[in-house]
Assembly symmetry: C2
Homo-oligomer: 385 residues x 2
């Protein structure tokens, strides 16, 4: 199936624009809706090629939807934007569904590490060396907080970064949803201008907790395990507090159902992508979407480039290999991009189209090449259907 | 009446110490309680001299209670501590009842300007030049907040200062009272070591609002009038939102009733002292206390040394003179300290003991001399009773 959106605008502008829709445009949209109908389902899959070409010819945007965690996802998305900016096949709208399981309340402020890493990375404000947090950061406020004996002391919060948490907490406290807050934050970082829309996976507060494999099992917040314990403490299981009552945030399920391409960046398959997949309706939307779903392996030679994906996989009893990770997505994955290191083993074992490409995101250009390869896989699938 | 406290300790230490009270101490306290009884009421007023001398001889602390606003109050209190440290008549416990009508929620954080000014000034962290806020301050967080479009933009919040508001808001959010939070903040600033206890006037959130004298009267928060409008907009009246359900914070009324001396620093008589006097029970406690109540005029030659006390007085229809300010306290004031500039007029018109002393707090030493003069007035009243 090939659906073509008419571009997206952030909420406020969207509302303003919506008020201006003319009768002519409405008629035009009718045509577009018909085309969407034609392009849906199995027939659509087969007819995808001409419809996508038509969208491009008409100047409609290709809709790319990506699930994303923190650093790996953000760097992939920055590469994706870099790649898209250099294509000549019309505008592309990118919808990012961000993991909020990492979210934590520190010093009374709501911190959304993955969403912020994406905002800072796409907005040019990230500390490139560490991949998260702000460039040119200072820690004067946190030193004061510790002087007051405030806790915890194991989570670094820079001054510039704190402003994001303060304003988010202020707006949440005023009754805005996390989606609305995130859209406002994204304006400051120029995401609308980049045609990128960042959606939290859910507006329901959820938090990934880690049940430690100790004699007397106890649970700690994911961040405490990840940051303070450096993911070294043995894990019995991951539990997502609040997920039982979570609802996908507005636009999330539609972004998966109506996408032209769905991408899984090389984010942690357990505590980033895995958490997003646990949001009610997300996995079903991925199974049901007509868009090709292409994933990028987060492992190279069985090891994560950064982070502790191997420890997370081991914790849930999954072998830390590219092939095993693809297995976690087997019910909806159409293609899987692995590093040449893993090509022999992985490509043979994965029951989806696979392709190897150097997966080290050593620069924006390298990340762009990987994103381009993932899109290329998607396009070849679409054309062959 | 002359009561003598046995020193005070911050909450946690107080509780620990309380658990250790021995039978011997309890018996001793019985004696002390008897002495308090002897010293109360009109008889106590007359017998004050010998009892105070006895307290000093026994090494018990003299109890001084002060009401205080922001900069003027804080500088007076620092001078008072400076003066007391140089006396040889035993320890002195100072209880400060701080104005919380200035409190405001900014960026979702609870800001208590007057309490903080007192903490920073007594703790050595204040920006001496401006009299409020932190020395060596920066504004990186607020620049970010403004970049996000957060409001308001007219209230300066430094990075170091923000930490106080963050930790206060965190602790309030955890269910602590403002009194408990203030006691914890005070520990970091070393107030217990100085035998100074800072109490908010109430734990009930109250906020002074200003009804502007415009064609269509509207109310703004006191801070907006004071900071943004520089107290220049004509005032119809001041309203304290929340005061109708306010209760004096724990210890406030007792600190007035059981004091050996009550001092009114040269704080704003309308929006600082005046607000504290509006807390249910405070004015009655001042009328009823056996301690001499000595005030220091906030005006020199009819003008405030700083701030906008004259504008506030005019707004409530009171002449901006030292004598008129004393009139606001006439029902409980025992003595009034005025600047030599005002001696002729003020001292004649004030129906309380009056004394003139240079009132410009140009240094810690100068403030100390003023505090010493106020205490001297109190002592002479006590002795003459």
């Amino acid at each position: 199936m090939t659906s073509c959106g008419r571009g997206y605008a952030p909420m406020a502008r969207y509302r303003a624009a919506a008020a201006e829709i003319s009768a002519a445009t409405a008629a035009f949209r009718g045509t577009w809706a018909d085309m969407r109908h034609v392009g849906s389902g199995a027939a659509g899959r087969r007819n995808g090629g001409w419809l996508w070409a038509a969208c491009t010819w008409l100047g409609w945007a290709m809709r790319i939807t990506a699930l994303a965690g923190g650093v790996g996802g953000a760097r992939f998305l920055r590469g994706l934007r870099h790649h898209l900016d250099r294509r000549d096949d019309g505008p592309h709208d990118v919808t990012v569904i961000g993991n909020t399981g990492d979210d934590i309340t520190l010093f009374g402020l709501r911190v959304c590490p993955d969403l912020d890493t994406i905002l800072y990375t796409l907005g040019g404000g990230v500390h490139d060396g560490q991949g998260w947090g702000r460039a040119d950061e200072s820690h004067r406020v946190q030193e004061e907080l510790l002087a007051y004996g405030a806790t915890p002391d194991w989570f670094a919060l820079g001054d510039l970064d704190l402003a994001t948490h303060i304003v988010r907490s202020q707006w949440l406290g005023q009754g805005m949803s996390l989606s609305e807050v995130t859209a406002l934050l994204a304006q400051r970082w120029g995401l609308p201008e980049q045609r990128v829309r960042l959606l939290p996976m859910t507006d329901t507060p959820v938090e990934t907790h880690v049940v430690l494999a100790e004699e007397e099992p106890r649970a700690v917040h994911f961040q405490e395990w990840w940051v303070r314990m450096q993911a070294a403490a043995p894990v019995e299981r991951f539990v997502v507090a609040g997920m039982d009552r979570a609802v996908a945030a507005p636009g999330v399920l539609d972004a998966l159902r109506e996408a032209d391409v769905v991408l899984l960046p090389p984010s942690n398959p357990v505590v980033s992508i895995g958490i997003i997949l646990g949001v009610p309706g997300v996995r079903d939307a991925l199974r049901g979407t007509a868009a090709p779903v292409v994933g990028v392996s987060p492992l190279i030679g069985g090891r994560p480039v950064r982070g502790h994906a191997d420890a997370c996989l081991t914790a849930i009893g999954v072998e830390p290999t590219s092939a095993a990770v693809a297995g976690l997505y087997a019910d909806f994955l159409d293609a899987w991009l692995v590093d040449p290191t893993d090509a022999d083993v992985a490509v043979q074992r994965v029951r989806v189209e696979a392709h190897s490409e150097p997966l080290l995101m050593s620069s924006v250009e390298a990340a762009g090449a990987i994103a381009g390869a993932a899109l290329g896989l998607a396009e070849s699938i679409r054309t062959s259907r």
